[in-house]
Each structure stands twice: as structure tokens, then as C-alpha cells.
């Protein structure tokens, strides 16, 4: 039983979560009895629960999945959940819990998949406010205290500690109606579906939602005329505060967009159908300028800024170029707003292997492998050799963003035949949960196979998918967004329920993943 290190009990007494209105103090009567015995029992119980959580979330699975059979003493390692006794270091199979319980009178067990607590006397899983808080914190941020904050926490943290108190918060907030949940369609103002899908993905982005709902950019105080960030603020209010279920008219966004003087996106300002990805870039840069340091992001540089857009979407990418002649290594770091994954090369490669159309289907991970694991040859001017040399270039992700946006390049400009752009309809399978660890610079330079904690922090969860239907010249954008565990399909003003299989079988164009420790 190496899994349970005998650490000395923490000097501070473990505390039961103070009672909240509308919530019982304990998960069940039996847990209440356990916690009411004396402070020492409470301390050890909570301490054990923490240790168990740490084990099942950080240690390799065989450590907590190996159960000792009560009858034979043999160790078995099942794939299905094991049960870790809260009161002693035993690990048991589900069947053995009863025997262990009657022998030792230990009645509480922690299930090994997610750390839920099972009460033998209730014969049910119980959700104790104190223990659930620990479990959620551990599975979310990886710590119990929340001391190791991610950077966006600092952004939202009030400078004045008094402002963190619940009474201050409750007296300064307006509770929205139970009906307002952020699920509304956006009317198509005439070929604006490319805007609608991007706006929906912003609206269902928890980081941006928290930013705007916490009045971080208040349209009442902003003086910039036709400010797009104000238009976003108004829209968030309309979606999350108003009771209206009718579609939303994004008139302010639209006028802000028409008035915007951004030269790089001049092409966007028309009444024609446009590329949703271009609009995403436009909106991100516009919001950065309204909320950030005002500097225009230079393409190719390592631009970092504390604005909400940079904190949400921007990551860093590192290209390592190794000279084949002198083995000199050059690193170049760039900021990125999104990852653009070409599909064409891979489609062709796959096409050679399998002739049937089904074999052409690829996975998102394959596309990422192609870009961020494999290296390619290039020519570059080596400083050491002072001449043009063959080099190998390898790209990896140095800093993962909080929200990872991925564009699958479905619109390829084909050279030759009429020089027309073509749309690739190759199905790309994408996961609900994406592990980005293999594509990080860290995974490249160090052995990360045993770093379960690191792998956990690189897990992303899908929250929005933008789909283009139709041809390259004309078509329609629809999107899927997740609210809790339920997916919804957004088709302009129409919002419908969507199943996970609807979402996963969509021919995605843009994918938005959010890092799991925030989700």
C-alpha cells in the first residue's frame, strides 16, 4: 500500500463547510454522525478523503485500481471502479465493500473514477457539501486550496479583499431571472450567419461570459462611439439577463462592424456571405483593441497583452529550426489566436492508402500530429554557417491558451484549374475531450509519460462547433454550443436541442475547446 503516504495530520483543524441556505449541512445522516464525533475524526476523515482524491487523480491507475480480495488476499486490478475505504487504507472491489464493512464497521468508500463518496448505510452515493467542494476543486484546478491560480483568476480577483465577501457580492449583484440562460438565436440580418455563429461561440464561452457579466467592460461607462466591446456587453446582458426567448437582433454589432476602420478586414465589410473564421479574427482583434493595451498585434511576433481576448484565446507557438549542417538550433516564438490545420495534404495521403471514401475520414489528432509533432524540411539562412542550409523545422505549442480555437482549412485555394478555391468536405472526427499534451514543447523536451497531473492540465473540452453547409460560393453557417451537458444547435434565430452524435458527426469548420480546469 504505497499509495497512501503517512503524512502528518495538518496542524489546522479541518472545517465543515458553513451551512448555506437551501443546502443541507451534511451529505447524509451517517456522514453527519461521523463528522459530529469529535474534531479528530473529522480531521482524519477529511484528510483521508483528500489523500484518496490526490491518489486517484495524480497517481498512475494501477496504484488505486489494485484491490486486495478479502477472501483470498489476492491482488486484482479491475478496469471497473474500485472502492477506497475512507477510514483505512484498504482498496476493495465493489463486492468486497460489504464484507469489509461488516468486519471493520467502515461505512464510507470513495469510488475510484471520479472520487464520489459511497455510504454503505444509505446504500447510495452521497454528495456532502464539504467533500464535494474538495472533489470539484481537485478535479478542476488540481489543488484543494485554489492557491495556485491560473492567470485569469487574477484578472477577476478583486483588489480589495472586502469585495470578495459573499455579503458584498450579493448586495452588489442583480440576480437574473431563472428563464435567462443565454440560449437565444440571433436573427440573420441578410447573409450574416457567418457573424451569428461566431457570436454564439463567444456567448457560450465561459471566460468571456464571466468577463462581460462582471461588468468588466460596461457599455454605460464606455465613451467610444460604436464600440464593439459595448455591443458585446449589451448582447451578453440581453442573453443572460433578459427573459426574452425571441431571437436577438445584433444591430449594434453589425453597425460597429460596418463602421470599423480595420483595413485588414476591409473585405469583410460587405453585404455578401463571408468567412466565419475571418470574422472571428476580426472580432477578436477588435475586442483586443477595445479592452487591451491598444497595440495592434503584430503578426508573427510574441505579442502578449493582459486583455480578455489575449487571456482567453492566445497561446504561444515555438518553431525550432535545426540546421542540418552545423546542428545549430534556432527557436522562434510566436503568439497565436487559433490553430489552422490544413486538411488537403492529409486527405491526399489518405486517399492513396484507401480508395473508399470512408477511409478518407481522418481525426483531429491526426491533423495535429501532422502540424505539431512531425517536422518538415526547409531552407534557411544559418547564422553559424553563414550560408543557406537545409534545416529541419519543428513546431510545437509553448503555451496553451485557455480557449483553444481550431480552424480546419476546408476552403483551399487550388492552384491551376481555374485558380478557384474549393471546399474540402472530408469528414474530420473530433473528440469531446482533447488532450493537447503531445503537441506541447514540454512533451517534446521531457518525458511526460508519468506526468498524469500535467496531462490532466492539458485536457480540453469541446464547447462550440461551427459548421459550414453548402458550396464554397454560397452556403450557410450553423453552430453547436454546449450548455452544461446539453448541446444546442443554433441556426440563426432558431435554437434546437442537439444530441452529442449530431455534434460529433458535423463537418466542423471551427472548433472551440476550453481547458478543462476551467470548464
Amino acid at each position: 500500500m504505497a499509495a497512501r503516504p503517512a503524512t502528518p495530520a495538518s496542524p489546522k483543524n479541518a472545517r465543515i463547510k458553513s451551512p448555506q441556505p437551501g443546502q443541507p449541512v451534511f451529505g447524509c445522516e451517517h456522514l453527519q454522525r461521523l463528522f459530529n464525533q469529535d474534531q479528530a475524526t473529522t480531521n482524519t476523515s477529511i484528510h483521508h478523503y483528500k489523500t484518496i482524491l490526490r491518489n486517484i487523480m495524480e497517481l498512475p491507475p494501477w496504484e488505486y485500481q489494485s484491490a486486495k480480495m478479502t477472501d483470498t488476499g489476492a491482488i486484482i486490478t479491475p478496469m471497473t471502479p474500485t472502492y477506497l475505504c475512507l477510514q483505512c487504507p484498504s482498496i476493495l472491489t465493489e463486492e468486497d465493500c460489504v464484507k469489509h464493512g461488516s468486519k471493520k464497521s467502515h461505512r464510507f468508500y470513495v469510488e475510484s473514477r471520479e472520487g464520489y463518496l459511497y455510504c454503505q448505510m444509505c446504500d447510495d452515493f452521497v454528495y456532502d457539501p464539504t467533500l464535494e467542494e474538495l472533489r470539484l476543486r481537485k478535479s478542476g484546478s488540481g489543488t484543494f486550496s485554489g492557491a495556485r491560480k491560473r492567470k485569469q483568476d487574477e484578472m477577476f480577483a478583486a483588489s480589495d479583499p472586502a469585495k470578495d465577501s459573499p455579503s458584498y457580492i450579493s448586495s452588489n449583484t442583480t440576480a437574473p431571472s431563472c428563464k435567462a440562460n443565454g440560449l437565444r438565436g440571433i436573427y440573420n440580418a441578410g447573409a450574416t450567419c457567418y457573424q451569428n455563429v461566431v457570436l454564439q461561440s463567444f456567448l457560450h464561452n465561459p471566460i468571456l461570459r464571466n468577463y462581460y457579466l462582471s461588468d468588466a467592460h460596461s457599455s454605460a461607462k464606455c465613451e467610444v462611439p460604436y464600440c464593439l466591446s459595448c455591443a458585446m456587453d449589451d448582447m451578453f446582458q440581453e442573453f443572460y439577463v433578459a427573459e426574452n426567448t425571441n431571437g436577438y437582433t445584433a444591430a449594434n454589432i453589425l453597425s460597429g462592424f460596418w463602421i470599423s476602420e480595420k483595413k485588414a478586414f476591409e473585405n469583410l465589410v460587405t453585404t455578401k456571405e463571408q468567412d466565419a473564421h475571418e470574422f472571428f479574427q476580426f472580432l477578436a482583434e477588435e475586442l483586443h483593441e477595445r479592452n487591451g493595451d491598444g497595440k495592434k498585434p503584430e503578426i508573427g511576433s510574441e505579442h502578449s497583452c493582459n486583455c480578455i481576448i489575449h487571456q482567453t484565446f492566445y497561446g504561444k507557438i515555438q518553431s525550432t529550426t535545426t540546421c542540418q549542417h552545423c546542428n545549430g538550433v534556432t527557436n522562434q516564438v510566436q503568439s497565436f489566436l487559433d490553430l489552422s490545420l490544413p486538411l488537403e495534404n492529409l486527405t491526399q495521403k489518405k486517399g492513396k492508402k484507401g480508395s473508399s471514401t470512408k477511409a478518407n475520414a481522418m481525426t483531429l489528432q491526426e491533423c495535429l500530429d501532422e502540424e505539431y509533432i512531425k517536422d518538415d524540411k526547409c531552407e534557411y539562412r544559418c547564422n553559424n554557417c553563414d550560408s543557406m542550409q537545409q534545416a529541419r523545422r519543428q513546431t510545437s505549442l509553448k503555451l496553451l491558451p485557455n480557449v483553444l480555437s481550431i480552424q480546419l482549412k476546408r476552403f483551399e485555394f487550388k492552384q491551376g484549374r481555374n485558380e478557384r478555391a474549393a471546399k474540402l468536405d472530408t469528414p474530420v472526427h473530433f473528440p469531446l475531450q482533447l488532450n493537447m499534451l503531445p503537441y506541447t514543447t514540454k512533451a517534446r523536451t521531457t518525458d511526460t509519460t508519468e506526468h498524469f497531473e500535467l496531462a490532466r492540465s492539458c485536457v480540453y473540452e469541446l464547447f462550440s462547433v461551427v459548421v459550414h453547409v453548402g458550396e464554397i460560393d454560397t452556403g450557410h453557417y450553423v453552430s453547436y454550443c454546449r450548455l452544461g451537458n446539453q448541446w444546442f444547435a443554433f441556426n440563426d434565430h432558431k435554437v434546437e436541442m442537439a444530441s452529442i452524435s449530431d455534434v460529433l458527426s458535423a463537418r466542423a469548420y471551427l472548433l472551440f475547446y476550453i481547458v478543462r480546469s476551467l470548464a
Binding site: 473514477r113 428563464k179 426567448t245 460587405t270 455578401k272 434565430h493
Partner: protein, 396 residues
């Protein structure tokens, strides 16, 4: 003969055949265990949500009883009473559970407004009639019903009258149109059931006029966009094109009758196009061989076009030779083609929407054009119609 337990995992659903070799048995048992884990995870999620909601409900109920019993004026104060129900005990301002909330508590109260949650949708899949005597929390289960959104709303189909003219709406009704639910959109706003919504209008931030939302982008293009670089670019292009594009430029997308209503200048025939309109039309027609527009396209005049449309559409009863009605017919067809793509009316690369904008500016300048309506896409008709009627209803 292997015992059953060796041939499957914990779920006991995927069982290897009796004569399976050891590898097969392991594979079956791994798959079976994986299935068990998936079901386990799903079940835990649902169980947790439900049990915590019920436990919260038990607490809310007993807290309410306690505050009622103490008749204290301050609602936040914790009354010093002891109350016991089947589900919970209230003591010293704290709530303790009694028994399993899944067994003791049957309904769910909203933790925010403390009203009971409606547990079944009111319409569509799994619908149940809510108890009319109970005031429910405003958060309702989402409705899953074809043709309706999650709130059970549907929209007046985007059509010629935009819900204004009854005559148009009748024509709009098409039994083949599955996307428009029966009864929806019939009649004027007064006759409509409350869950049938019409498209709203919005105020243009520049000229402060009220514009129907589906035309808002077009309007802003001309209202805001035209004053800037677009106009200059359009003008430059107009000069360079010099009307050499011939037929495709006779883009009087409006049939003659409509033109009477909206005086259109001849000059807008030279509206800027990035690509040749004809080339574009071909593309579109190829992609949709069943499209009746192809037929239409071959007809040289608007008059013949109208006749053909009428024969192909026996639904249309109105025989007025008013071109206005022919416009409606065209749009009807158009709507059928694109019914899934509501208001998705323009096409990339073929800037038809820049066409109307100069028209609006110049519309007092010239009389109606005497050119016959060129064969063209109905789509553009709609674009034009929408813009021109917009100017009609609210003259500058």
C-alpha cells in the same frame, strides 16, 4: 468449458462465445468493462444532479417552514426553532438530511426562486400537461419538436409580405413545405398563436430609421458602407466595367410592374459586379438540376417567365397580370429552394446586393427603365424587392 464470469466483464452484456480462445475472452471482457465504465459515469452524473437537487429542495422547504413558524420580519435571520419533516430536520439554523432525499422528496424546487421546477416539457417529445394550479419556476425543460425551437416558438416564414399582407401569406402556405408547420404564419399578427413570432425590426444606428432585421445588413451597407470606401470602390469598378457585361447587367431584378412602384434609374444597370453574373448563374443551376429557374432562365422576357411559373405552380390562383404578384411567385419558388437557409439570400463573389444601393440613392433621378427584365435568378429579385420596398415604406 469456461465459466460465464471468464467470458465477460462487469456489465455482463458482451459475452464471448463458449468456444472462444483466451484472447477473444479478454477482448470481450475488456469491452464489457469499458461499457460498464461508460454507464457508470453517465449514471453518476445524473444521480448526482438529481440527488443534490432533491436534497436542496428538502432544505429549501424546511427553511421556509422555519421562517414561517418564527414569523420573523427579517427573512435572512436564522430562526431558533426546531422543525422536522420526512426529509430533513431544521435545528439551530442548520438543515440536516433525514433519509435519502431521492426517496423522501419527490419534486424539485428552484434554488433561486424557490418555485417548483416543471419536470416535463410542455410540448413535443415527452410532453406532459403542466398542473395549471401551480406556479412553476420560469426555467422550463427544453422542447424537442420538429419545426419549433427549444422554447416551442416558431417563426412566420420569411416571405414576400414579411407577415404584412394576408394575401401573400396565403400564397406562402405550401403543403410540401415541411419546415413551416401547419397553421403557422397564417393570417396577420392578430390571428397568430402567441408562439409564432415574426421578424422584428431594429433601428439603424446611423440614420435612426427602423429597418426589418432581415434587411438590416443591406441597409447598413448602403447607409454606412456607401459613404466610405465601398462606394468609391464600387464607383471605380463601375467605370472600369463600363457596362460591357451586357445582358447580365440588365439587372432589373424587379419585374416591370414593380418598377412602376419603385422608380428605378437605368444607371443602376451598371451596378458593380466582381464576377460576371452569367457565369455565376450557371454554377448555381448546375448544382441544382431540378431547379425550375433553369427553365425560367431561357425565357427572354419577364412576361413569358410569369406564364411558365404559373403553370408550374397550380397553387397560385390569383390571375392578376400585376407584376407584383409574379414577383411573389418567384419568391415563393425561391423560398422552397432555400427554405432551410432562411434569409440566406446572397452569394459570395457576385455582389448583387451592391446593386440596390445606388438605386436607392438615385431613385428620384431617373424614370423607370425600359429594358426588358433579363433572365436571372429569383434570389436577386428578393434582394431587390426587399430593399426597394424598404425605401418605399420609409422614404428618405
Amino acid at each position: 468449458m469456461a465459466p460465464e464470469s471468464e467470458r465477460t466483464g462487469k456489465a455482463g452484456v458482451i459475452v464471448a462465445p463458449e468456444d472462444a480462445n483466451p484472447m477473444e475472452k479478454i477482448a470481450h471482457s475488456i469491452l464489457d468493462d469499458t461499457l460498464y465504465n461508460i454507464v457508470h459515469d453517465l449514471l453518476m452524473k445524473v444521480h448526482r444532479d438529481e440527488k443534490m437537487a432533491r436534497a436542496g429542495t428538502a432544505a429549501i422547504k424546511i427553511e421556509k417552514m422555519a421562517s414561517d413558524a418564527s414569523d420573523s420580519s427579517t427573512p435572512d435571520a436564522k430562526p431558533d426553532v426546531r422543525i422536522e419533516t420526512d426529509a430533513a430536520i431544521y435545528e439551530e439554523g442548520r438543515v440536516f438530511l433525514k433519509g435519502n432525499p431521492l426517496k423522501t422528496t419527490k419534486d424539485i424546487l428552484c434554488p433561486r426562486c424557490h418555485l417548483p421546477r416543471l419536470l416535463n416539457p410542455t410540448d413535443g417529445k415527452g410532453a406532459q400537461k403542466p398542473d395549471p394550479s401551480i406556479i412553476y419556476c420560469k426555467k422550463h425543460p427544453y422542447i424537442d419538436k420538429p419545426g419549433y425551437d427549444i422554447y416551442g416558438q416558431t417563426w412566420v416564414p420569411a416571405g414576400p409580405g414579411r407577415g404584412k399582407k394576408k394575401k401573400d401569406m396565403e400564397k406562402k402556405m405550401d403543403p410540401n413545405d415541411a419546415s413551416s408547420p401547419a397553421g403557422a404564419g397564417e393570417g396577420s399578427a392578430k390571428d397568430r398563436p402567441p408562439n409564432v413570432l415574426s421578424f422584428p425590426s431594429a433601428t439603424c444606428s446611423k440614420c435612426k430609421r427602423c429597418i426589418l432585421v432581415t434587411r438590416l445588413n443591406n441597409h447598413m451597407g448602403s447607409c454606412i458602407g456607401n459613404s466610405g470606401r465601398i462606394a468609391s470602390r464600387a464607383a471605380a469598378q463601375k467605370i472600369s466595367n463600363g457596362g460591357s457585361n451586357g445582358g447580365s447587367q440588365n439587372n432589373d431584378n424587379t419585374p416591370p410592374g414593380s418598377q412602376k412602384g419603385t422608380p428605378l434609374p437605368t444607371s443602376r444597370a451598371a451596378s458593380p459586379r466582381k464576377r460576371d453574373g452569367d457565369e455565376f448563374d450557371e454554377d448555381a443551376d448546375e448544382s441544382d438540376p431540378a431547379n425550375p429557374k433553369k427553365k425560367k432562365k431561357l425565357k427572354p422576357t419577364a412576361l413569358t417567365k410569369k406564364v411558365i411559373l404559373k403553370t408550374s405552380k397550380p397553387m397560385v390562383k390569383k390571375d392578376k397580370v400585376k407584376a407584383n404578384s409574379s414577383l411573389n411567385v418567384e419568391q415563393k419558388i425561391d423560398d422552397e429552394d432555400t427554405k432551410d437557409l432562411t434569409a440566406q439570400v446572397t452569394r459570395k463573389k457576385s455582389a448583387p446586393k451592391t446593386g440596390p444601393s445606388p438605386a436607392k440613392k438615385l431613385k428620384l433621378g431617373a424614370g423607370k427603365p425600359n429594358l426588358p427584365a433579363a433572365p436571372k435568378k429569383a434570389k436577386r429579385d428578393r434582394d431587390l424587392e426587399s430593399e426597394s420596398s424598404g425605401t418605399l415604406s420609409s422614404p428618405p
